[in-house]
C-alpha cells in the first residue's frame, strides 16, 4: 500500500510538473481553446451551483454555531463562524470541483485514450496527449481560484445576514465584527489555496484518465480513483496548510 501511495504521489507530481514544463503550449491555439473550454465547464458552468451552496453554507454555519454555542457568547460565535467560513470556503469549493470536474476530466481523458484516432470534431483540439494535461490543470486551477473568491464572498454575506437576523443585531455591526476578526492576508491565501486545489484536482484527474489504455472496464476505476485521489489530495494539502499556518 505504501508503494502504491508513493507511486500515486509520484504520478500526480509528474502530471503537475508535466503541465508546468509544457506551459509553452499555451501559444498553440488548440491548447488555448481547450483551456477556455475547461474554464467555462469547470468555472462558469459551476458558478450558479457554487453560489447556491455558498449561500446555504453561510446560513447553515451560523445557525449550527448558534445551536452549539448559544447566542450569549457572541464573540466566540463569531470567531467560530468567521474562522470556519474562511477556512472551509476553499475546502467546500474543492469538494464541488471534485464532484463536478474531477470525475468528468478523468472520464473525458480516459475516453480520449480509448477513442484516440477517431475523428471527432469535439476532440479535435486534444488529439495529442501532451496537450491534454496543461489546459485541464490550468483551467481547473483558474476556475477553482475564481470560484473560491465568489464562494467566500457569498458565504460571508449570507452568514452576515443570517447572523444579523438571528441575533437581532445591525448588519453593519456584524460586518464590522467580521472585518475585525478577519486577517487581510486571508483572502489572497484562500484564493491561492483554491488555485492549488484546482491544479491538483486537474492533474490527478488527468493522471487517472491517462492510465486507461484499451479496456473499457478501466474507465470507471479511473473515475473513482480520480475522485478519491483528488479528495485525499485536498485534505492533505489543507492539513499541511493548517500546520504551516499554525507554525
Amino acid at each position: 500500500m505504501f508503494s502504491a501511495t508513493t507511486r500515486l504521489a509520484l504520478g500526480y507530481s509528474s502530471m503537475l510538473a508535466h503541465a508546468f514544463a509544457r506551459r509553452g503550449l499555451l501559444r498553440v491555439p488548440q491548447v488555448r481553446v481547450a483551456l477556455l473550454r475547461q474554464i467555462q465547464v469547470t468555472g462558469v458552468q459551476a458558478l450558479p451551483y457554487v453560489l447556491v451552496v455558498a449561500m446555504l453554507f453561510g446560513a447553515v454555519v451560523v445557525t449550527r454555531a448558534l445551536e452549539l454555542l448559544g447566542p450569549d457568547d457572541d464573540t466566540a460565535l463569531k470567531a467560530v463562524v468567521w474562522g470556519g467560513i474562511r477556512e472551509l470556503g476553499p475546502l467546500i469549493t474543492a469538494l464541488i470541483l471534485i464532484v463536478r470536474s474531477s470525475v468528468a476530466i478523468a472520464a473525458e481523458v480516459a475516453l480520449m485514450r480509448l477513442r484516440s484516432g477517431i475523428a471527432d470534431s469535439h476532440w479535435r483540439d486534444i488529439e495529442h496527449e501532451e496537450e491534454v494535461v496543461l489546459p485541464r490543470v490550468l483551467g481547473a486551477s483558474l476556475s477553482a481560484a475564481a470560484l473560491v473568491s465568489c464562494f467566500q464572498f457569498v458565504a460571508i454575506g449570507s452568514a452576515l445576514v443570517a447572523s444579523s437576523l438571528t441575533l437581532g443585531t445591525a448588519l453593519e455591526f456584524e460586518l464590522d465584527s467580521f472585518l475585525t476578526t478577519a486577517s487581510p492576508l486571508q483572502v489572497p491565501l484562500s484564493v491561492l489555496k483554491g488555485a492549488l486545489f484546482g491544479a491538483g484536482i486537474g492533474a490527478i484527474a488527468c493522471y487517472h484518465g491517462l492510465q486507461v489504455h484499451s479496456e473499457v472496464g478501466a474507465l470507471p476505476k479511473a473515475v473513482v480513483a480520480a475522485g478519491a485521489g483528488s479528495l485525499t489530495f485536498v485534505l492533505v494539502v489543507d492539513l499541511i496548510a493548517i500546520v504551516l499556518l499554525i507554525s
Binding site: 498553440v28 491555439p29 488548440q30 481553446v33 477556455l36 473550454r37 474554464i39 467555462q40 468555472g43 462558469v44 458558478l47 457568547d73 464573540t75 466566540a76 470567531a79 479535435r124 483540439d125 495529442h128 501532451e130 496537450e131 483558474l142 476556475s143 481560484a145 475564481a146 470560484l147 473568491s149 465568489c150 467566500q152 464572498f153 460571508i156 464590522d176 472585518l179 475585525t180 478577519a182 486577517s183 487581510p184 486571508q186 483572502v187 489572497p188 484564493v191
Partner: protein, 336 residues
C-alpha cells in the same frame, strides 16, 4: 505536433470568452473588495501613531491583539520586545485621531473575560498635558479575569470555610454547654434590659435636670450679663468722676494748701492770743465765781419778788450729789 490542423472557432466562442472574462473579473473584484475591506478595518490604509507600555510579562498579549478606547477598536499591538530587565515593551499602533486624546496619565488595561479574546482597553487619562509624541509611554495595569477573581476568592474563602466547619463541629460537640451559656445569656439579657430601662429613666431625669440647670444658667448668665453692663456703666461713671477729680483736684489741692497756710497763720494767732490770754484768764476766772454767786442771789431775789414770783414756776428740787466725795459737789458752793 508538427501537423496541427487549423482551428475552427465554434460559433459560441465569443460568448464563451465573455463568460470566462466575466467570471475572472467578478472573482477578482470580489477578492479585492473583501481583502480591501479587511485591510481598511485593520488600519492598513490609515495613518497610525504608536504608544507603548511596559508590562511585567506578556501573558495574554500577542501582536495583533486589538486596542480599544471607549469600546471602539482604534488599533492593535504592533510589536512586543523583551527588555534587559525582563520586562516586556508592548508597542501599540493606534489611529492618529484617538492619539490626540491621550494625556500624560493615560494607561492601558488588559481585558480578558472568559472565552472572549484578550483586548487592551486604553484609558485617555485626565491630566492637562497631552501625551508626548517623543516618548509616548502610557501606564499599564492588568485586570484579572473572572476565573482569576474566582480563584482568588476561593483561596481566601477556603480557610474561612474550614474554620467555620471546625467551629460548627465544636459547637455541635458542646451543645449542652452552649445551651447553658445561651440560657445564662438570656437571663443576663433580661437583667440588662431592666438595667437599660433604669438607665433610660436616669438619663431622662438627668436630661431634665440638665435642662433646668441650663435654664437657670441662662438666667444667671443673663443677670451676670446685666450686672456686667451695670458694672460697666459704673466704671464709666467712676471713670468720669475720676476725670472730674483729676480735673478739680489740682485746684482743690491748691485751695487746701492755701487753707492750711491760712490755718497755720490762725494757729499762730491763736497761739499768740492763748499765750496772752493765759496770763489774764485765771485772774478773770477767779473774779467770775463771786460774780456768779451775786448773779444767782439776784435772780433768787427776783423770783421771790412780786409779781415775778407768780409768773415763774417753782424751781425743781436740787439733785443730790451722787457721791459725797464728788469733787464737783465739793467744789460747788452749798445751796442756800
Amino acid at each position: 505536433m508538427s501537423a496541427v490542423p487549423p482551428v475552427v472557432e465554434p460559433p459560441r466562442a465569443k460568448s464563451q470568452r465573455r463568460q470566462i472574462a466575466a467570471l475572472l473579473i467578478l472573482a477578482l473584484l470580489l477578492a479585492i473588495t473583501l481583502a480591501g475591506g479587511i485591510a481598511y478595518q485593520h488600519g492598513v490604509l490609515t495613518t497610525r501613531s504608536q504608544v507603548y507600555f511596559l508590562a511585567d510579562d506578556a501573558t495574554g498579549l500577542s501582536p495583533g491583539t486589538p486596542v480599544r478606547m471607549s469600546g471602539f477598536r482604534i488599533g492593535k499591538i504592533a510589536a512586543m520586545h523583551l527588555q534587559p530587565d525582563l520586562s516586556v515593551k508592548v508597542v501599540l499602533a493606534i489611529e492618529t485621531e484617538p492619539f490626540s486624546h491621550l494625556k500624560t496619565d493615560a494607561r492601558a488595561e488588559v481585558v480578558r473575560e472568559q472565552l472572549r479574546p484578550a483586548a487592551i482597553d486604553l484609558r485617555p487619562g485626565s491630566a492637562e498635558q497631552s501625551l508626548s509624541e517623543d516618548d509616548p509611554h502610557v501606564g499599564f495595569r492588568k485586570r484579572g479575569t473572572l476565573t482569576e477573581i474566582a480563584e482568588d476568592l476561593r483561596t481566601r474563602l477556603a480557610p474561612i470555610l474550614d474554620d467555620v466547619k471546625q467551629l460548627t463541629g465544636t459547637a455541635r460537640a458542646r451543645k449542652g454547654d452552649i445551651d447553658a451559656m445561651l440560657e445564662h445569656a438570656h437571663a443576663v439579657t433580661r437583667e440588662l434590659a431592666g438595667a437599660t430601662q433604669e438607665m433610660h429613666a436616669l438619663t431622662l431625669d438627668l436630661r431634665n435636670r440638665v435642662a433646668r440647670l441650663g435654664t437657670q444658667g441662662e438666667s444667671v448668665l443673663g443677670e451676670a450679663n446685666r450686672s456686667v453692663v451695670r458694672l460697666g456703666n459704673l466704671i464709666g461713671q467712676a471713670d468720669k468722676s475720676l476725670d472730674a477729680v483729676n480735673t478739680r483736684l489740682p485746684g482743690m489741692l491748691g485751695k487746701a494748701d492755701n487753707a492750711l497756710t491760712s490755718l497755720d497763720a490762725v494757729l499762730r494767732d491763736a497761739r499768740t492770743i492763748s499765750s496772752s490770754a493765759a496770763k489774764g484768764v485765771p485772774e478773770l476766772m477767779r473774779s467770775t465765781a463771786p460774780l456768779i454767786d451775786d448773779s444767782r442771789e439776784t435772780m433768787q431775789g427776783l423770783r421771790e419778788s412780786w409779781p415775778l414770783r407768780s409768773m415763774l414756776p417753782a424751781p425743781p428740787p436740787a439733785a443730790l450729789p451722787i457721791d459725797s466725795h464728788d469733787p464737783a459737789a465739793l467744789h460747788g458752793s452749798a445751796p442756800r
